[in-house]
Subunit: 637 residues, 2 copies
């Protein structure tokens, strides 16, 4: 607790030990971090990029929420990225970043991340660190068990957390049991471009689907989803969904699904979902509404789905690097149950079932368990791996990370987390090739870990060194939003691909101005388009007249710079939309409806040069009935 | 430049020196930083709170921009905070945080910060770290020379950066010279509450007003504003505003202004500006429109304003801790000119003027100069002080910080910055009592300082140890937005005041629900108000029926927790507004217009307990013509 007696770190009093730890996380000025960490923002809806081991925040990538820092979701080019079947949604709750993989190894091409509230998956391009694509998930509610890629990024997945009427319709909530359904959606990822399409949905009982992981190696071709609320309660779930001793891990054979799809054994049902793509050449996002989806019903598709009974309200499901072991983190269980994929296949072959649920065979738990990690802690949530035969599981209630041996199931180390750890992240820790040097605990409660900042505190992450036998706590670092989950990757796998600017001669924006000689102001009816350029240290034109109250004005600003890290910003006094922040070679558009006559300044908002303060201009707004002609100038005083 | 040959910091290779530096910035897990740093976000419109020396981001305080992470500017309670005379503006450009002062010393009560684009000043309360008040600045354009408090926080100031028609009207931009004006606004700050009111404006010539600082000690009662573009150019200012060898520092005698106001020697002119206040008891912001402002004309108020000629396009104006020395940082000058306040008073007494400009006497530069720091670097921008007789000036073009001796004007140390430093910050460095242990350089260009993140890079700050004779670079840390300016303060001056939650029995929100027994759903016409509570681990009610397409639905959520750091979040699938994030004891409102029939889940978005995933519910949306009655339940399965 916050006692007020803590003192700030005093250099002179640091022990040699502390100094040694300090050196482990210190990245000297001008030096680079060893790993990129991609940390979701939870309720912020964004994805943050940190360097490890320093814990420094390198960038917040706007994904599912408007971002005034970058103009995302405000400028005309990116507004379509936030379109959904419900219209424009300025916010979502982003949970699980997942790096693309090739042969089960992180390849540094893309990060996928799920939107939880209004179900969506986004793809972030790691050559630009920008959101390239967002696809909505139809007929779902709360896309939590997502995106969790397959080992060659064949698919990312999306499992409904909340069962809903399928398809959506008006019905009494009391009719929940048996009538509400859960859709598990497989999104195809095009190999070269990363382009996403909904491949198919698997229609499941009205349980809650919590988390997922795809198989790898021997279990490649399967994806595993945890369930809770197999009781199908629709109220006070803290009681109602905690009755059953066991819930299920749903094992989906997606290679079998592909066969059924190929055989035409699907139904096509109406659906309404948005698919939004940002085109890096035009610098413009477009949004398309899709109208149907293919659905497989497990009761009609034998071999497609099996239930693996797992104690108790399993939260995370994690597959070890070999693909043999499937860890069910039963959050209300005292033990940790690990299933054997080999045994699962054997039980299926033997048709050794313990009945079925809604037509889906239930395997016998004692026939598929590989081992049990006994009483390792309270409230197990998630497990990752170090590639050296060890697993690391977080315990929310006992607030610790426990290291155990895969195969012998013995606990070999434990260390506290501050406080209430949820997910954990080891770079590559859910892939076939973990880079097991560091572990990051993603904590839910902060309280007294940092200087207080009133009732609202940043969430917190903790960095541990796991290179030795014993875990060692190195660093606390606060995060933007809730650090819900994260992925990490060696810097070298990403940095060489990172673009520095957009070539101006490749700019295909429909309203680009590629040379100062082409600047102009064009009126068509009450639409005024201002084709403007920015280059150190002027905006051209910088004197604009002939705009009238009631006009619809578009400032199309092209940044003519062709050097790294010379963005220009743009704002107009009183403009209802946020500013622009335009990268070199890019064009962005600020939409403005002037409401009052007057002469309004505009200026560059990103300090760009010694004469940045001089990078300004004026736009004159005349009354609606004025006959002031459209006119523009720069340097013509 | 980015060469690709840099390697991440390797612990084993760190020299003893590096290890020593590491220890100086390392704040071990559970330990506290020594200083709070309040760093503006520039184009992000927000204020970030960092710990020093760690450089850790403790919180982003939303001020002038919507923030999806916190629901600020989206929930009904905070939307009025972003109201202006132009309507709701979701964004601004926040430049200069300024701590409140008592007797010239930072007192840890409030931070003020200016909105640059749509001119405003905000006050942040440091007991809650929330924006408490925003006041718009009438008849101004680009509120850059702001807020820069007086020594007992009698006033914060707001100087127009861009001259505009005064008051605003439709006129040709070519009529700029002599017709556009600059207003310097003094905002009264109520001593106990911090409540702001526009006291008066001083009507100035149509120059650009760049920065300001108020006097202290012997110069208390005066405020100094830099000018550029005394040429009164209205186009291509990078050339047009760089012609004159000298521009002016405008010295305003605000005690004299108070006399003129008391004597009634002001004009009252029409004005239209918003004043927005967030009430901590009701948890609701209200916005009021003000209609007039009092104006003083220097030509009619002798002794109110003097011009101090200063080479060349002076950017920052900084007053030393004694109040005697006024540093003009002429950004296009080779030297740094320091004026003597004593000599200024003497020259005024002697009426030793070099003519006048628009009725304002111009002092003779050679009579007021205390000293010149000769050729210290290229592009001086800002100066702060360490309280030990030293000054530190940033040089944008030569990208360095130069330390010089106040009084002897000799350069005694210099150190590079990476890259292109703008402002600098020493905690208390613009007050009478600097805490001169650290210096933070606030840099404009990042390029290769961190792992690359595509064309867009975070800006960067650098921390220097200035406790010894020689400055020592300790740390690079990236920032949110542009770290335009910052203020720092010893943690002890703030942390003891920091609130941990809001007492539920003091909650005066008009739609608060203070007990679970009071939850309800009320329909009045097509307005549906849902009075809901959150406490671990349920939302009450969690089954809601009787909502129809076309309704206007208000979810009034009260967080019943009374413990530190137990916020609850709230979201509804498909809701057009962002989520809520409700602190313990607080009530917030999400507005929703359901467009489609169906049954939509809602849930807690801030992981709060082991059964957080169970903290969910459903709202049924029936067709507009449905007769499903309003109904709510929890636990009534």
């Amino acid at each position: 607790m916050f006692t007020g007696c803590k003192q700030s770190s005093q250099t002179s009093n640091n022990s040699a030990l502390s100094s040694d730890v300090a050196s482990k996380v210190y990245v000297a000025p001008g030096e680079y971090d060893e790993f990129y960490a991609f940390v979701s923002g939870g309720f912020s809806g964004q994805l943050s990029v940190y360097g490890l081991p320093s814990g420094r925040l390198l960038k917040v990538i706007p994904v599912f929420s408007q971002d005034a820092e970058k103009g995302y979701g405000y400028n005309e080019e990116t507004i379509p990225m936030l379109n959904t079947s419900f219209g424009f949604i300025p916010w979502d709750d982003a949970h699980h970043p997942e790096l693309s993989q090739t042969d089960g190894e992180t390849d540094g091409r893309w990060v996928f991340i799920n939107g939880n509230n209004t179900p969506r998956i986004a793809r972030i391009d790691l050559s630009t660190f920008e959101t390239a694509e967002i696809i909505e998930i139809p007929n779902s509610g709360g896309n939590h068990s997502s995106p969790f890629t397959t080992e060659n990024t064949e698919y990312v997945v999306a499992g409904t957390r909340f069962a809903v009427p399928y398809p959506q319709k008006d019905m009494s909530i009391k009719e929940y049991k048996g009538n509400f359904k859960g859709a598990l959606t497989f999104i195809d990822v095009e190999k070269e471009s990363g382009h996403m399409e909904v491949a198919f949905q698997v229609l499941m009982p009205g349980f809650n689907y919590d988390l997922a992981h795809s198989g790898k190696g021997k279990s490649h071709g399967w994806t595993f989803f945890t369930t809770y609320n197999t009781e199908e309660s629709n109220t006070l779930l803290e009681v109602g969904a905690s009755q059953n001793d066991k819930d299920y891990i749903a094992a989906i054979n997606w290679k079998k699904a592909e066969e059924y799809i190929a055989e035409g054994k699907f139904k096509t049902i109406p659906a309404n979902y948005a698919h939004n793509i940002y085109d890096e050449k035009t610098h413009v996002a477009t949004s398309e509404m899709k109208k149907e989806v293919r659905v497989l019903d497990p009761a009609e598709c034998p071999g497609l789905v099996y239930f693996l009974p797992t104690p108790k309200s399993p939260h995370g499901v994690d597959v070890d690097p070999t693909g043999e072991y499937i860890v069910g983190n039963g959050k209300l269980s005292a033990d940790l149950t690990v299933h054997s994929f080999t045994k699962v296949l054997q039980a299926i072959e033997n048709k050794s079932f313990d009945g079925e649920a809604y037509g889906i065979p239930i395997l016998k738990m004692d026939e598929i368990v590989a081992g049990i990690v006994e009483q390792p802690g309270l409230g197990p949530l998630h497990t990752e791996f170090d590639g050296k035969g060890n697993a690391y599981t977080t315990f929310f209630i006992s607030s610790e990370v426990v290291k155990w041996k895969v195969g012998t199931w013995e606990v070999i180390d434990r260390i506290p987390s501050y406080y209430s750890v949820g997910h954990l992240m080891i770079p590559g820790g859910d892939s076939k090739k973990p880079e097991g040097k560091y572990l990051v605990a993603l904590n839910k409660i902060t309280k007294d870990r940092y200087l207080p900042t009133g009732p609202e505190l940043n969430h917190s992450a903790q960095l541990y060194d796991i290179s030795g036998d014993k875990m060692e706590l190195l660093l606390d670092f606060p995060t933007i939003g809730e650090p819900h989950y994260a992925q990490g990757i060696s810097a070298g796998k990403v940095m060489s691909k990172s673009k520095k600017f957009y070539p101006i001669d490749e700019n295909e924006h429909p309203h680009a101005t590629k040379s100062e000689s082409d600047v102009k102001v064009v009126r068509e009816g009450n639409i005024v388009r201002i084709y403007m350029t920015a280059i150190r240290s002027h905006l051209n034109p910088d004197n604009i007249e002939g705009v009238k109250v009631g006009d619809k004005v578009y400032f199309h600003l092209t940044n003519l710079e062709q050097d790294w890290d010379v963005p220009h910003g743009f704002s107009v006094m009183g403009a209802q939309n946020a500013e622009l922040l335009v990268m070199p070679g890019q064009t962005e558009t600020l939409y403005w409806e002037p409401k009052q006559e007057g002469v309004y300044p505009f200026y560059c908002t990103d300090f760009c040069s010694a004469l940045h303060q001089e990078m300004q201009g004026y736009v004159r707004v005349s009354p609606a009935n004025s006959d002031v002609p459209v006119k523009w100038a720069m340097g013509d005083d």
